[in-house]
């Protein structure tokens, strides 16, 4: 029970299921820099299952300057080992291990080492090794998260072939009330309403949902030839009619609630376009015994929709003005309809499962899917290879972004040029204070060559930025490292829990003016 207490404040965000997923996950960190350590810190605290730090470096003086968890006694010792030791102190439920091998060597010689992880966080890897690793992880469908803090600048990139989200948890989900297209039971309930027979107390406490269904039907039959209000005039006219049915609009909150949401209610029912796109995905059409549960359920959803032209009902109603009995009755018919939809949906899922020869999907999972069906989400990331290869790079998009004043994308270009620099000179620009000035033109030529490869006009990257980055001399500031650690771990949690929609796909933080932008590269 103590775990529940310890994790209480986060369970309220991602629930037991999210927590269980975190606790099952084993995460690999490549290089225990300040950024890497801070990222893992924020994952160890909420209780991931385990972590492994891969780092061939020894603890240096600059580590002591920016890594909170390393002290003087660590100097000269394995950074992987020491970082791992300190992180383990934070949470005794989390298993931590270290690997003192050089990650580049590991990637080139024993890449299968990375197969065991649920997610890999790569920090300060040369571009070639990073590309190799990303290809390997891509093939194994393991999420890769690349993070760097470089002076005042932070860079984050998520890479996952396909990320499925059932619980996207939108901020202000609309209620699934079906006032526009009431189901049979709701319509029958509304038909029975006889406003004239009610006393004033009762009149002011008919749930607005019932009122609206009842009056819409009446209005369209009496005044609109059986058609729903579609033009603005028709909607206005219905609104007037609706209000005219109140005994005293000022005093009847149920009528006021009805008017408040009237424009939303009068929108024809439609399935959100991203849900339509997911239903039409080839993966839902071509099921096999190896299909993910997600796609089987999407296929079932498609069938359900083909039959009914609607999605399964969510079945909950908001807190509205009503007397207790009407409210409970209304709640009951929504609940029963949702249960019936769930039963039907479940039987479609089960028949699909048996027809393709998969094992049964737990009913809890089907229930969760059904409940969140309007908020399904799917993110397919671009691979790093596609991004890095000039022929497939999104040059036109980058040009349009770089043309914006003060675009933060310029730092992406310069940081990639820094990796090019490192590849050529085997060191980072400005690493030695005396060489900063000498390194600036060298870095500039790397920028130029990268821009040429990408067919981006070189005028789009001003020299100031190149000088700025050279001045940083490959250093990590703790404060930026900590902030990027926060951003990165937050996205990792979204990926692991499959809740909320993660960033797609690149994030640049600019600490000079505290701005940040996502880019789709």
């Amino acid at each position: 029970m103590t775990d529940t207490e310890k994790y209480d404040r986060q369970l309220r965000l991602w629930g037991e299921e999210g927590q269980a997923r975190l606790e099952k996950s084993h995460i690999c960190l490549i290089n225990g820099t300040a950024t890497g350590t801070e990222t893992l810190k924020n994952l160890v605290l909420p209780g991931i299952g385990g972590f492994t730090v891969v780092d061939g470096n020894k603890v240096s003086a600059s580590d002591l300057g920016n890594n909170f968890f390393l002290d003087k006694s660590c100097l000269g010792l394995s950074r992987a080992l020491k970082v791992c030791e300190f992180l383990r102190e934070l949470n005794d439920r989390v298993k931590g291990s270290s690997c003192e091998e050089d990650p580049v060597h590991l990637i080139n010689e024993k890449i299968s080492f990375f197969k065991e992880f649920d997610l890999v966080i790569a920090n300060r890897l040369p571009e070639a090794a990073l590309t190799t690793l990303s290809q390997y992880l891509w093939e194994h469908n393991i999420p890769l998260v690349v993070v760097v803090s470089y002076g005042y600048i932070g860079y984050l990139r998520l890479v996952v072939p396909e990320h499925q989200i059932v619980e996207s948890k939108p901020d202000t989900p609309l209620d699934d009330l079906r006032i526009y297209n009431p189901f049979k039971e709701l319509e029958e309930m509304a038909d029975q309403l006889d406003l004239k027979s009610l006393n004033s107390q009762q009149h002011g406490h008919v749930p607005y949902i019932t009122l609206m269904v009842h009056l819409l039907k009446k209005w369209k039959v009496d005044s609109n030839g059986g058609k729903m209000p579609s033009t603005r005039d028709e909607k206005e006219s219905f609104k007037k009619f609706f209000i005219s049915n109140a005994n005293s609009f000022q005093d009847e909150e149920n009528f006021q609630e009805g008017v408040k949401g009237i424009w939303k209610v009068l929108q024809p029912y439609s399935v959100p376009s991203d849900i339509v796109a997911i239903m039409n995905d080839p993966k839902a059409a071509n099921l096999s015994s190896t299909s993910d549960d997600y796609w089987v359920m999407v296929a079932a959803l498609k069938k359900f929709h083909e039959t009914h032209q609607v999605l399964p009902l969510q079945g909950t109603i908001p807190d509205i003005t009503a007397d207790t009995i009407s409210y409970i009755n209304l709640q009951k018919i929504y609940h029963e309809k949702a249960s019936a939809d769930l039963d039907e949906f479940t039987s479609i899922v089960n028949s699909l499962v048996s027809s393709v020869g998969k094992t049964l999907i737990p009913s809890e999972m089907i229930k969760k899917f059904c409940k969140n069906v309007r908020f399904l989400n799917l993110v397919r990331y671009r691979s790093l290879v596609d991004e890095f290869t000039p022929a497939t790079a999104r040059s036109a998009y980058m040009i349009s972004e770089l043309e914006q004043p003060d675009s933060n994308l310029v730092f992406y270009i310069v940081l990639r040029a820094v990796e090019k620099f490192n590849n050529i000179y085997n060191r980072y620009p400005g690493f030695n204070d005396e060489e900063v000035d000498a390194d600036i033109p060298l870095l500039k030529s790397c920028v130029t060559s990268l821009l040429n490869d990408l067919s981006i006009p070189t005028t789009l990257v001003k020299d100031d930025y190149i000088t700025e980055i050279a001045r940083y001399g490959h250093c990590e500031l703790h404060n930026i490292a900590s902030l990027m650690g926060g951003v990165t771990s937050q996205e990792v949690i979204k990926l692991i829990t499959h809740q909320y929609v993660p960033l797609d796909n690149t994030f640049i933080f600019n600490g000079i003016n505290s701005t940040a932008n996502p880019y789709k590269l």
Partner: protein, 627 residues
């Protein structure tokens, strides 16, 4: 090599800024989620003269994010342990001075004179009243303040500088949602009403004596009639008998039989719904204390599933389980009460929580309201804001970046930054230019408030406690009208007689005590170095149930004064609560929202208002949030 430990910082920030960091003296208010991260970031950014203050002690539920604390620190001072841990990890600890105060910032020790010694104050607080308090002191001594907060995945940082930016109180915070007393006492219709009731009952039974707590009178056994009308009064004769049997039986009988029976007899209340059903203790328990009956219960829809760690708290307990828990927790709390004196309710105290869970659920059962799980009740009763390490890390990083600008006196570059839950409108962080001070702000601009209140029924005590202290966050107000002093607080030098005299004074009706309609009352608080004039307008009817006073920062004549286009079209925000219902917050309000759907140029902080257009999507951000 340790000499150039900060070489990276010098290279990136420049030597001038670095020198300012080295010589700056800063105050961090709060050593919780943000406070821990912030302290670490400050020290590793070169700050070496830091005061940190927090009155709280470490709790188990802090450990998922407050990384300077371990299990063996539970119960110890947050400020002191934070200081110890940072110095332990940090390499040049002899070079760094951290002063930790395990204390309440709202005390005389930390008045304006204390604040004057700092170059910068950073708030890492979790409550509105302390935020307002620090805001007022910083304004009065003209020290820059960085204000911050997080709630779940959301967060926010802003810089407050007198005369340059708007202050923390320029945007009125939505007052806490309060329920009408009659809803709580007589006519509950939602679980939250029963939860509020149960917390009041806790205070009544185990807390300090409090005359304003009218939840029940334990010895009053009238079920019908009026005690002055001796002929027609009907009393519940069973109550004195129950009192003789045991304390828990007495309480149970009183609140679930006598009080309910009285309500059930008020037939006009139950014309449209089922009347409440009084519970008979002996029918639920056989004489040997064993339960005899099982009663069917209404449970909230659908949460009765699967196994898993911790799920116990998320399942709705049966009615009988609630009964057992209620009796057991009363027994134990009574022992605690006898041993330790008055108890205060704390959501993280399991016994106190069990009491509220069971008492509210039994009351819900009686009134045909769905029961709730312990997990849900904890959130509703404790006003719990979700909190995680990641958000605090991001916000603390942003605070330090603003701190650099403040030390450089670059207020033109300071931003208010909002952290959004997921990239919305293409951004995760939303930096906006701070607003100018509002010309009608009663704290930083005009020091004038209009208060509408029933001067013929309100007592001085209500004015002091509910209006001035609770709503306007005064700590120790001194009241004057014209040249005459009406009220002064403080206990230090008063004799017993003088205190009694003052207590008598507090019971006076304000209209009878020099504050009738159209009075200008001056209120001053030395601790906050803050003074405001209040125009009292007599008013007898208010537009919302349960509301009994209304405060506006604007002068009486709003139309001439309101030339600020920021919110000119939504002065009518009487409907605000509709948008907040889902939060069911009891003690402190949601007070800031971000309009995330608007694009870069128009994005700005908005005053809470009722949703006017159907496409506007709002992020709610609670100020009463992470430390």
């Amino acid at each position: 090599m340790t000499d150039n430990k900060f070489q990276n910082i010098i290279d990136t920030l420049g030597i001038d800024t670095f020198e300012k960091i080295r010589s700056a003296k800063v105050l961090v208010v709060g050593a919780g989620g943000i406070g821990c991260e912030l302290l670490k970031n400050l020290v590793l950014s070169g700050f070496r003269d830091i005061h940190i203050i927090d009155l709280d002690t470490i709790d188990l539920s802090n450990l998922n994010r407050q990384f300077l604390f371990r299990k063996h620190h539970i119960g110890m001072s947050k400020a002191k342990i934070a200081r110890e841990s940072v110095l332990k990890y940090c390499n040049n600890s002899d070079d760094i001075k951290i002063v930790a105060h395990h204390a309440d910032i709202k005390t005389h020790e930390f008045g304006p004179n204390y604040f004057k010694q700092f170059n910068l104050v950073m708030n890492a607080l979790d409550n509105l009243s302390a935020r307002r308090h620090v805001n007022r002191i910083c304004l009065s001594v003209d020290i820059p303040l960085i204000e911050s907060g997080t709630a779940g995945f959301l967060g926010q940082v802003s810089v407050i500088r007198k005369g340059v930016t708007e202050c923390f109180e320029c945007i009125p915070k939505v007052p806490p949602k309060e329920f009408a007393v009659c809803t709580i006492r007589s006519n509950p219709s939602a679980p939250i009403h029963c939860i509020v009731w149960a917390k009041m009952l806790f205070g009544r039974l185990f807390g300090l004596a409090d005359d304003s707590n009218a939840v029940t009178d334990m010895d009053d056994n009238i079920v019908e009639g009026d005690k002055d009308d001796t002929d027609n009064v009907i009393r519940d004769e069973l109550l004195p008998l129950a009192k003789q049997k045991s304390y828990e039986q007495w309480v149970f009988h009183k609140v679930f039989y006598t009080d309910i029976d009285r309500l059930a007899r008020m037939t006009e209340l139950w014309k449209e719904k089922k009347p409440p059903r009084p519970l008979v203790y002996d029918e639920l328990f056989s004489p040997d204390g064993q339960q005899t009956t099982t009663t069917t219960t209404t449970t909230s829809n659908g949460i009765n599933s699967s196994s898993g760690r911790g799920l116990k708290d998320q399942v709705v307990m049966s009615f009988q389980e609630n009964i057992n828990m209620f009796v057991e927790s009363i027994r134990k709390l009574q022992v605690q009460n006898e041993q330790n004196g008055a108890l205060t309710w704390d959501k993280d105290d399991n016994l106190a929580l069990n009491f509220v869970v069971s008492a509210s659920n039994i009351r819900s059962h009686i009134f045909n309201i769905p029961l709730k799980s312990k997990f849900d009740i904890k959130a509703m009763a404790g006003n719990i804001i979700p909190a995680i390490a990641t958000t605090n890390a991001i916000i603390s990083g942003l605070i330090v970046l603003e701190a650099f600008k403040v030390l450089n006196n670059e207020f033109d570059k300071c931003k208010s930054t909002y952290l959004l839950k997921q990239p919305s409108g293409k951004r995760l962080l939303l930096p906006i230019d701070p607003e100018k001070p509002k010309s009608d702000c009663y704290v930083c601009s005009q020091n004038f408030i209009t208060l509408k209140i029933n001067t013929k029924t309100t007592t001085l005590s209500q004015l002091l406690n509910d209006v001035l202290k609770k709503n306007l966050s005064f700590h120790d107000p001194i009241l004057t009208v014209g040249a005459s002093l009406l009220y002064e607080g403080g206990d230090e030098d008063l004799s017993k007689e003088e205190i009694e005299e003052r207590n008598k004074l507090e019971q006076k009706i304000i209209a009878d005590y020099k504050m009738p309609d159209n009075t200008i009352l001056n209120v001053e608080d030395y601790l906050q170095n803050f003074k405001v004039s209040i125009l009292i307008i007599h008013c007898e009817t208010f537009d919302e149930d349960g509301k009994w006073f209304d405060i506006s920062g604007k002068q009486k004549d709003q139309s001439t004064n309101n030339n600020n286009n920021h919110d000119s079209n939504n002065n009518n925000n009487n409907n605000t609560e509709d948008d907040l219902d889902d939060l069911e917050i009891i003690e402190n309000p949601v007070d800031m929202q971000i309009d995330a759907s608007s694009d870069k140029s128009t994005a700005k902080r908005k005053e809470i208002e009722s949703e006017t257009s159907d496409s506007t999507k709002k992020h709610k951000l609670n100020e009463n949030n992470e430390q």
